[in-house]
Symmetry: C3
Subunit: 155 residues, 3 copies
């Protein structure tokens, strides 16, 4: 669910640095959001030099992150705490390496989201527990989460 | 209106496969959404190997689709039916070819949308009918849809 | 705050044309939105030929712009006026150069947005005035905008 798009200068992250950043982001969502690890998608996009401009001026040391939250809608009291948690991850991987950065999160409708053709189970349901345990989308039945067990994902 | 962004591995879709996927997506919106075919934008983005990570691990067989719906806001009872329709398209082009995939849709404000400098006509209006027939944005007058006929798109 | 993503054909904009377009966009937000110039991010993404399809057909003369508004939520009466203002910029840089184009704007939650680890100050606050003057994110104290002065951005 959370989809992280990381727009960064070419070469900003090695393959290993991508893995550790994505792993640390994942931990926030599994530990605090109690969701399956496989919900966390991180995509790195290298931006061509001169193609990212701030206030009309090209910048080549800037990392712009956009995030879509789908599985969980944050309560008002959770919003700033979540930003602080995520910033603690960004500090290690971005700030401490000397990059400038900006991040924003959008929240999108849970009903308009599928993984592998399945509607993800309701938050906190037994079926979601199964997805966490299996760490992959698996069929689940209506008895556990008002969803029809079907490989052909009828609703 | 619907803007589809398809983030895929390099070489996942040939030029012909892009056309047939985009054409099948378009059909859903023209037949079920009754909107002009030219509202349907599909953009393919090839993701560099190792740049898309799920749960902290790079995956190279995964297609992530993000969609923005602008022209139509789905009623609650239409949401899951729409996902099912779209999945039937993805099954042919993605699932049956052995890729993993995830899709989510966001809905954005219709008033903050222009094509070719024109505010698209109201849903179901005569002017929208004209756009469907012409399959391109053309000037229309206020008599048909509370919009001023103007090439300079004053509001 | 506003994040502009400009999806364009390869070579559509030279380095200088990127700067003048981004500068003109920035002016709209600083003059009409009264916000710091550094809030305005513009990212150019060159789309590979045949990778952008409209109504199922590849187009190679089309510029698709997506915008996220974060710092300001437009009032209903401001929405169309804002589109018109922005179109006047696009006319000079896109329409007059013979490209086709489409733009839409989404509005995302202000509380879920940080620059350089800081929560941007409230609209119209003294702290925001300081950010405008300095044209960079600087620490500010709770006395000016209900925000704690802190490099570690506790909330």
């Amino acid at each position: 669910m959370p989809l992280w798009n990381v727009y960064c200068p070419g070469g900003a992250f090695s393959a290993q640095q991508r893995k550790t950043l994505a792993a640390d982001i994942t931990t926030v969502y599994t530990e605090y959001g109690r969701m399956p690890a496989f919900y966390v998608d991180v995509v790195f996009h290298e931006v061509t030099e001169g193609s990212l401009l701030i206030g009309g001026e090209p910048v080549n040391n800037f990392i712009r992150i956009t995030v879509a939250h789908i599985a969980r809608q944050l309560r008002p009291d959770q919003k700033r705490a979540t930003m602080d948690l995520l910033e603690s991850v960004l500090a290690r991987h971005i700030k401490d390496r000397g990059f400038d950065w900006e991040i924003h999160i959008d929240e999108t409708p849970r009903e308009l989201w599928n993984i592998q053709g399945f509607r993800p189970p309701d938050e906190g349901s037994d079926a979601e527990g199964l997805w966490i345990k299996e760490n992959r989308p698996v069929p689940y039945d209506v008895g556990t989460a008002q969803e029809i067990e079907s490989e052909t994902h009828r609703d």
